[in-house]
Symmetry: C2
Subunit: 572 residues, 2 copies
C-alpha cells in the first residue's frame, strides 16, 4: 500500500507531484488494465484529523459561511441542508453566483489549465485525491449528515470507494492521453523528393464542464467526472443537489486550495449552489459555452438535460429497474440473506439496489427440496426483519432516508398497494441508536403479479421491493431483460444452479446492458461495485451513458489537433 514518501512531502511543483505520486498511479493503471482487485485508499490511515478531532473540525464548519477563498459570488446562500440523522439544519452558507459569471471564470481558468502538460495535470490530480483522502473522516461526517448514510458507508462508499473511482478515472485518463504522441517525425517519398515533416499533436479540452451531483451519493459520481475532466484539461463547475451540498463543497475547497498552493487558478474548480426555489442547473447545463455535462439524478431530469444541453457532451447516470431472478439455490439461507442485504443497504437509495424480485409460481429448488413461492416470499421478508432485529446493525446497514419526500412517496405507494397488491411488509420507522429523530423506514415489500407492471416498471426511489409472481424462471429472465432494455437497469442478479439459465442470463443482460451478478452470497454486498474492476453503467439502456470507467468516459472530453511543418527537405 502506498505511503507518503519524503518526495511527496516536499514536492512543490506540479511536475514534482507527478514524480511523487507515480507509484500510486502505476498501481492504479495496472489495475485499470487487469481489472483485478485494487484500492488506493482502503486499509490506509488518512493523515488528517480522525475520531474526535474530525468531529470537532466538522462541528466548527457548521453554522457559518464556508471559506472557498476568492470564489466568485454575488451573495451568500444558506442552503436548506438538514441532517437526516438529527433533523437539525447544518447552517452552512455558500457563495452564490449566476451561471454566466461561473462560466466566465471557468473560461478564464481554462487558458492556463490546458497549457499544463499531462504529467503536470496528473500530478495535481493525484495530490488533490490524496488530500481528499487525508480529509476523509471530516468529509465522511459531511456525507453522513447530508446523504443520511451510516457512518461506515459514509467513510467507505462515499469515501475510500468513491476516491478509488476518482483514482480509476485519473489512471484511465492518463492511459488514454498517453496514447497520443506529442510529436512525430514523418518521411515519405513523393516522386523523387523525400518529404520530411515534424508533427505536433495537442490535447485540446472541449471547454467548461458541469458536474451535477445527486443528493444521496454525490461523491461516487462526482469524483470520477471531476478528475476525468481535470485530467483532460477542462475546468469544472460542481453543482451539488441543494439538500446535499456540504461534502462536495468541502471537496471543492480542498481542490481549490491545492490549485492555489501550486500556482494554478483556483477557478479551475468552482462550486455552483442553488435552492429548490431558484434553481440554476438548467441554465448552467444549457449555457452555450458549457461543453461537457455529467449528470447524476432522476431519469426525468436526465432526459431533459440530454434533450436540451445540445451544445454539450452529456454523460448521465439516472435510474433503473434492477432485478433479481430466482431459480434454484445451493445455499438457501445465504441467498435470502444476500437479497435482504441488497434491498436494505442504505435503504435502497443506491443506483445498484434491486427493486424487482421475480418469484416463480412453482417456487425454487433448494438443497432442502422445493421452496414454494409463498415460502420464498416469507423467507425474504424474514431475512429483512433479521437485519432490523438489532437497531445497531439496522443503523449501519439501512442508514436513514435522505429526503422527506421519499417517506411521503413510500407512504402513498403503500396506500395504493394495499388495494392492488399483497403488502407483505409495511414500511415503518425504526429507532436509530443515539439519533432519536433519525428519518428511517423499513422496506416496503409487496407481492404483485407480472401484469402489474404499471406499479413496478418504473423506479420507486428508496426502500421499495416488489416480489413479482411469474410462471417460471425463464419467463422471469425474459421479463427482467425486457424491462432493463426498455426502462433501464444498472445491475441484475440471478440465483440458479442451472448452467443453461446462467448462460442465457449472461447473454440476455449483456444485450440489455445490465451487469449481472450470479449466485453471490456471503460477506460482500451483492450490489457492491468495485472501482478498477467493475464497469458501472453500460450506456446500452436508459439508466445512463457514463461508464465508470471505460475509454469512452475519457475520450469524449478532449480532442487532438495537429500541426506540421517541414523538418528538412532532401532531394535525392
Amino acid at each position: 500500500m502506498t505511503t507518503i514518501t519524503p518526495e511527496q512531502a516536499t514536492a512543490r511543483t506540479p511536475a514534482a507531484l507527478a514524480e511523487a505520486h507515480q507509484a500510486l498511479l502505476a498501481e492504479a493503471a495496472r489495475a485499470v488494465t487487469s481489472r483485478a482487485a485494487f484500492s488506493g485508499f482502503a486499509g490506509r490511515e488518512p493523515s488528517g484529523p480522525r475520531g474526535e478531532d474530525a468531529a470537532a473540525q466538522f462541528a466548527a464548519i457548521l453554522g457559518r459561511p464556508l471559506d472557498l477563498g476568492d470564489h466568485v459570488g454575488t451573495s451568500t446562500l444558506q442552503i436548506d441542508e438538514v441532517s437526516p440523522w438529527t433533523r437539525l439544519p447544518l447552517g452552512v452558507s455558500y457563495p452564490r453566483a449566476d451561471a454566466p459569471l461561473l462560466v466566465e471564470r471557468a473560461l478564464h481558468a481554462r487558458t492556463s489549465w490546458r497549457r499544463l502538460t499531462v504529467p503536470e495535470r496528473t500530478g495535481l490530480c493525484l495530490e488533490m485525491i490524496e488530500r481528499l483522502f487525508a480529509a476523509n473522516p471530516v468529509l465522511g461526517l459531511a456525507a453522513m449528515h447530508t446523504t443520511g448514510q451510516g457512518r461506515g458507508m459514509s467513510l467507505s462508499g462515499s469515501g475510500t470507494n468513491a476516491l478509488d473511482r476518482g483514482l480509476e478515472a485519473i489512471a484511465a485518463a492518463w492511459q488514454v492521453l498517453g496514447r497520443v504522441p506529442t510529436t512525430a517525425t514523418w518521411e515519405q517519398s513523393f516522386g523523387t523528393e523525400l518529404v520530411a515533416l515534424e508533427k505536433t499533436y495537442r490535447i485540446v479540452p472541449l471547454g467548461p464542464a458541469l458536474v451535477v451531483a445527486c443528493a444521496s451519493f454525490p461523491a461516487w459520481n462526482v469524483y470520477p467526472a471531476v478528475f476525468a475532466n481535470l485530467m483532460t484539461g477542462n475546468p469544472v463547475i460542481v453543482k451539488p443537489h441543494p439538500s446535499s451540498v456540504l461534502q462536495m463543497a468541502l471537496a471543492v475547497q480542498i481542490l481549490r486550495e491545492t490549485l492555489v498552493e501550486f500556482g494554478c487558478d483556483a477557478d479551475v474548480v468552482q462550486l455552483a449552489v442553488d435552492s429548490a426555489i431558484e434553481p440554476i442547473t438548467s441554465e448552467l447545463a444549457t449555457h452555450p459555452q458549457m461543453r461537457i455535462v455529467d449528470f447524476t439524478g432522476s431519469a426525468r431530469y436526465g432526459a431533459w438535460i440530454e434533450e436540451h444541453a445540445r451544445q454539450a457532451r452529456v454523460y448521465t447516470e439516472t435510474s433503473g429497474l434492477n432485478a433479481v431472478v430466482l431459480d434454484s439455490f445451493d445455499d438457501t439461507a445465504g441467498t435470502l440473506r444476500a437479497i435482504a442485504g441488497a434491498v436494505s443497504l442504505f435503504s435502497a437509495q443506491m443506483c445498484t439496489a434491486p427493486q424487482n424480485i421475480y418469484i416463480p409460481q412453482s417456487g425454487v429448488t433448494t438443497p432442502e427440496g422445493n421452496m414454494s413461492a409463498a415460502e420464498l416470499e416469507q423467507g425474504i421478508v424474514d431475512a429483512v426483519e433479521a437485519i432490523l432485529e438489532s437497531p445497531r446493525r439496522a443503523a449501519a446497514v439501512l442508514g436513514t432516508i435522505q429526503a422527506e419526500r421519499t417517506i411521503d412517496e413510500i407512504s402513498a405507494l403503500t396506500a395504493t398497494l394495499r388495494s392492488r397488491a399483497r403488502v407483505l411488509s409495511e414500511p415503518r420507522d425504526w429507532p436509530a441508536p443515539g439519533y432519536p429523530d433519525a428519518r428511517t423506514s423499513t422496506p416496503l415489500i409487496a407481492g404483485v403479479c407480472a401484469t402489474d407492471d404499471d406499479l413496478f416498471a418504473q423506479e420507486c426511489f428508496g426502500p421499495v421491493v416488489f416480489l413479482i409472481r411469474v410462471p417460471d424462471a425463464r419467463s422471469a429472465l425474459r421479463h427482467a431483460v425486457e424491462n432493463a432494455s426498455r426502462h433501464g437497469a444498472i445491475t441484475a442478479f440471478l440465483y440458479s444452479t442451472n448452467d443453461d439459465l446462467v448462460d442465457a442470463a449472461e447473454e440476455g443482460f449483456a444485450a440489455a446492458g445490465a451487469s449481472l451478478t450470479t449466485n453471490l452470497t456471503g460477506a460482500m454486498p451483492i450490489n457492491f461495485s468495485a472501482a478498477f474492476s467493475d464497469f458501472h453503467v453500460s450506456g446500452l439502456n436508459p439508466a445512463g451513458t457514463a461508464t465508470l470507467t471505460d475509454d469512452s468516459f475519457v475520450t469524449g472530453r478532449f480532442r487532438v489537433v495537429q500541426s506540421r511543418r517541414p523538418l528538412r527537405s532532401v532531394r535525392n
Copy 2:
C-alpha cells in the same frame, strides 16, 4: 511491405485469417501509436486485374444490374449516375429496399456477428480490406467515373490512401478493444471472509450502423466508418450519394462475398440506394433502431441529422472554411506553386482544400524583397495558370467537376462577384485530353475585402478561391481562427518566417480545432492528409465530429457489459 503468404492463401476460417494477416495488423498498429509514416498498400501491386483487364472488367459491370448476391430488394433502381469525364450514363442498377427492411436484416445479422471473437472479426476485416485492394484498379475506374477524379487520384486518394484510412481504423479498433480484458479474477477480504469472483467482460455493439457517403470522395470516409463499425460488432448499411454509387456498391459486393465465403451473414454489410426524388437517408438515419450514423456531406444536412437522429451516436464530416495565412516566404516560387496546387487539386472538391487566402495590405516579405499585395495576388493567379498550361497535367491535377450543380453555382457566384469584388480569374472550361465532353472548370479567383464576409464566410463548394485583403498577417490570423471556430475548418495553412507568428498560429488554430500546415512547399500537396499520422477533423468546430482516427472514433461504437460469479469462497 506485406505480401500474400501461403497461410493467407489457405486461411479458411475467420480465426485463421487473423493469423494470416497479423503482420500487416502489427505494422498498422505500430504506426497508429507512433504516427510515423506507413502505408499498407502504396507501392504494392494489387493482385486483381490491372490495366486493360481492369478496364474490361469495369466495362462489363456497366449497363446492367449489379449482382449483390441475395441482397434484400423489393425493386431494382437504376440510378442517375453519369460519368463527369464522358457525360455518359453508367447504367448500373441496384437492389432497392425500404429502410425498415434493411434495418430488420441488419438486426438479424447482428446476432451472429457480435458472437464472433475480436480476433475473428479482425481477421475478416483484414481479409476484406485486402480484397478491396486487390480490386483497386476496377474500384478506381468506378471512382473516376462517379466522382470525376483523375485516374491517379482515383487509384491513390480514393484507393490506397482511403484503404490506409480503413486499415488505420481496423488497427485503432483492435487496440481499443484489446484494452478490455475478457475475464478477470478478483479477490478481496470482507471482514474475515475472502471473496473471490470470476468476472467476464463482453463487448456489446450499439446496433445497426448507417454510413452516409458524399458524392465526390466516398471511399475516404466510408472505409474507416465501415471498418470501425464492423470491428466493434455493428452491422453496417452503406448509403452512397445517388449520383455516386458504383464504387461503394462494388466495395459492398466484395465485403458481402467475403462474409459469405467465411460462413457469415452477408447482411452484416448492406447497400441502401435511393434517388433524389425518393430519398431514404433521413428515414434510415432516424430509424429508432439505428444506433450509429457516420455522415459525410453538406453542413446543412449534417446539422439536420445531428438534430434529428437523436437515437444514434452521430459522427460527421461536413465542410469548413480552410484558410491560408500569408506573412513572409523563404521560397516565393515554391510557396505560390504549393498554394496553386492546393486550390487546383481535384478542383477543390476536397474537404481539405483551402478557400480563403489572406493577403496583407502591405504585401509579404520574400528573399527577393517585398512582394506587394497586388503582385502576390497576380502570383497566385499565374501559378494556377501554370498548372493549366498542360492539359495533361490539368487533367491529372484538377480532374473534373462531379456535379453540374457546382458549375451552375460557380457561374452564379461569378456574376455576383463581378459587381461586388475583383474577379481575378474567371472560371472557364478547359479541354481534358481524350475526354472531349468532360465537365471541367478552372478556379474562380476573386479579390475581396475582409468586410465581405457574407461572400467568403461560408463554404463555396468546388474551385472557388477568395483572396482577402487584410491589414496584416496578425489580423489575418485572428480572422481565420475566428472563422474556423465559428463556421468550421479542417485545415489551415501558414507561410511565415516569423517564429512568434508561427507559435501564435499553432496555438490559435489548435484552439479552433483546425490542423495547421506551416511553410510546406515541394512535391507533397499541402492538403494531403496521411493515414496513420495525420488526425483528420478535430470535433472542436462545426466542420465535423469524426476524427480519423482517434480513440473517440472507436469507443462510442460499443460498450462493455460485465458479469460476475463466485470463483470460490474461502473462509479464513
